[in-house]
């Protein structure tokens, strides 16, 4: 499997990988280009030497989870033949590819193409917030023309790891919003939260301030359902029923 051209959604897989006891869903949740709730964990350092890619834990102890996230990140970017996970303390080396991938065979239903996953993430963000394409392009920090390419089924378009990371982070924020409310932020995106800060300005900033964003969405989610009634809602309250649309009539078949 060439992971540079193929992204795999594993969140629904209950299988365990052979290294340690870290579940695949836990593992992939930290990857920037994988579907799932991003934990925001920083991938560990990876460096390449003579065709080898070493994944090294930068923490005080070996955190297998971080190592594996780093490994997967490196695999996605690299064509190296061998990948090792090195425990700084025990100096143990693990041939990652043999140990991980021999035991990893995702079902076809779990495989998403690069373009599909890209569009799926954008759709999730757009739908959660009820965003216009201009706002969506703004928070992805790309032009509208670029956004249409991202939304297209063009498999040859490859996002940079940084763009995957941003898309993953924005998707996680969209997921947080969805957990707070089923309504879209839409009208509230440009509402001032404090000073000149709006949710859209927070989401569009180069470095996402997770704390400020969390506080903003919690505040806005409380107000989103308490909007004044529209005229048609007032008619409905008076007992007026909407007329059926063609799509609501029984289908011919």
């Amino acid at each position: 499997m060439d992971l540079r051209n193929e992204c795999v959604v594993l969140e629904s897989s209950p299988r365990q990988i052979s290294i340690g006891d870290i579940s695949l869903s836990e593992l992939v949740s930290g990857l920037p280009c994988f579907s799932g709730t991003s934990s925001g964990a920083t991938p560990c350092l990876s460096k390449r030497q003579r065709g080898w890619t070493f994944i090294v834990s930068t923490g005080t102890g070996l955190d297998r989870r971080d190592c594996l996230i780093g490994l997967f990140t490196a695999l996605l970017e690299s064509t190296a033949n061998s990948f090792l996970i090195v425990d700084k303390h025990t100096k143990a080396c693990i041939d990652a590819r043999a140990n991980v991938f021999l035991n990893w065979a995702p079902a076809n239903s779990e495989v998403r193409s690069n373009a599909e996953l890209r569009a799926q993430r954008l759709v999730k963000i757009k739908a959660a917030f009820g965003m216009s394409n201009s706002d969506l392009a703004r928070i992805c920090r790309i032009s509208r023309t670029q956004l249409y390419k991202w939304l297209s089924s063009d498999e040859s378009l490859q996002l940079t790891p940084a763009n995957w990371q941003r898309l993953g982070d924005l998707e996680r924020i969209a997921q947080d919003w969805n957990e707070l409310t089923s309504s879209p932020a839409r009208d509230l995106l440009n509402e001032r939260i404090h000073g000149r800060t709006t949710l859209i300005s927070l989401l569009a900033s180069q470095k996402l301030d997770n704390g400020a964003i969390r506080a903003a969405i919690e505040k806005l989610a409380k107000t989103v359902s308490s909007h004044p009634l529209r005229r048609d809602e007032r008619l409905h309250q008076r007992g007026v029923q909407p007329k059926p649309l063609l799509g609501e009539l029984a289908r011919d078949d």
Binding site: V123, K126, S132, N133, S182, S183, D252, D253
Partner: protein
């Protein structure tokens, strides 16, 4: 026929149960066969499996005075074993294939097989209740007939450049109820453009405002389908999709926008050259 008391005919037809979507019994249909006639042609003989459905509006069927509404319009339909997917769900303005009610009898018709029958010929007859259309099928049949007159006439060249209905249906099939309507604004809507010129389209998919606001899953599904629709349109040579195209909640699609757009459905893609 009892023409006496013609002013009460509306009441009698109402009492007998005649309304839009009623089906004539085989005996009744045979009795009026001689009037199923087009100008200058012999009457159409009814074949086994042929039925007549009333398509006039109910208020006209039961109008009090015969003079004000002297005729009832009927549609000749043929009973079929299965719905023909090429002719169902408003894909064509010429043909329709539909069920009279859930799990009910299936009919097929051509839009031109309609006849005006003198209203008094319904007096003393009652509709075939087992074969008549339920209210939803009846409304849908009326909508299909209406489309023939109200659908926008797009340039043949534009229809040729647009994706074919099956491609569109594949994208929209899971959201056909959640996306209430699709409206489209077309540059040069009245011109057959030469191949080197583009048609510029702005497409709006409209969701019921409450559904949009309250149903997150539906909103996400519709957003996904709309993104695919726009991507498909962008791949069509000679079509430019405007950046303003978007999925909108119904409260944001205004009367002003309705004036600038055509409602888009698959029947709009019925080209003049489509084979019957």
């Amino acid at each position: 026929m009892p023409l006496a008391g013609s002013e009460k005919i509306g009441q009698r037809l109402h009492t007998a149960g005649w309304k839009s979507g009623s089906v004539l019994t085989p005996g009744h249909a045979r009795a009026i066969e001689s009037v199923l006639q087009r100008s200058g042609r012999s009457p159409e003989p009814l074949l086994p499996g042929d039925f007549l459905i009333v398509v006039s509006q109910t208020c006209d069927i039961v109008a009090p005075k015969l003079e004000t509404e002297p005729y009832i319009e009927v549609l000749l339909v043929h009973e079929r074993d299965a719905v023909d997917s090429r002719k169902s769900n408003l894909r064509s303005t010429r043909h329709i294939s539909f069920r009279a009610r859930p799990k009910g009898v299936i009919y097929e018709a051509h839009a031109t097989n309609r006849f005006w029958v003198p209203r008094e010929l319904f007096d003393e007859y009652a509709p075939d209740v087992n074969r008549s259309l339920d209210p939803k099928a009846s409304k849908r049949l009326s909508a299909w007939l209406g489309l023939r007159y109200t659908r926008p006439a797009w340039p043949e060249e534009l229809v040729r450049r647009l994706p074919k209905p099956p491609e569109l249906e594949k994208i929209l099939k899971d959201v056909s109820e959640a996306v209430a309507e699709i409206h489209i604004a077309i540059s040069d809507a009245n011109r057959e453009l030469p191949t080197h010129e583009d048609y510029r389209l702005t497409v709006y998919a409209i969701m019921d405002a409450d559904e949009y606001r309250r149903n997150r899953d539906s909103r996400e599904k519709c957003t996904g389908a709309f993104v695919k629709l726009l991507d498909l349109l962008r791949q069509c040579p000679g079509i430019v999709v405007d950046e303003d195209s978007d999925l909108l909640p119904g409260n944001e699609f205004t009367w002003q926008m309705a004036r600038m757009t055509d409602q888009w459905n698959l029947a709009n893609l019925t080209a003049a050259s489509e084979e019957d």
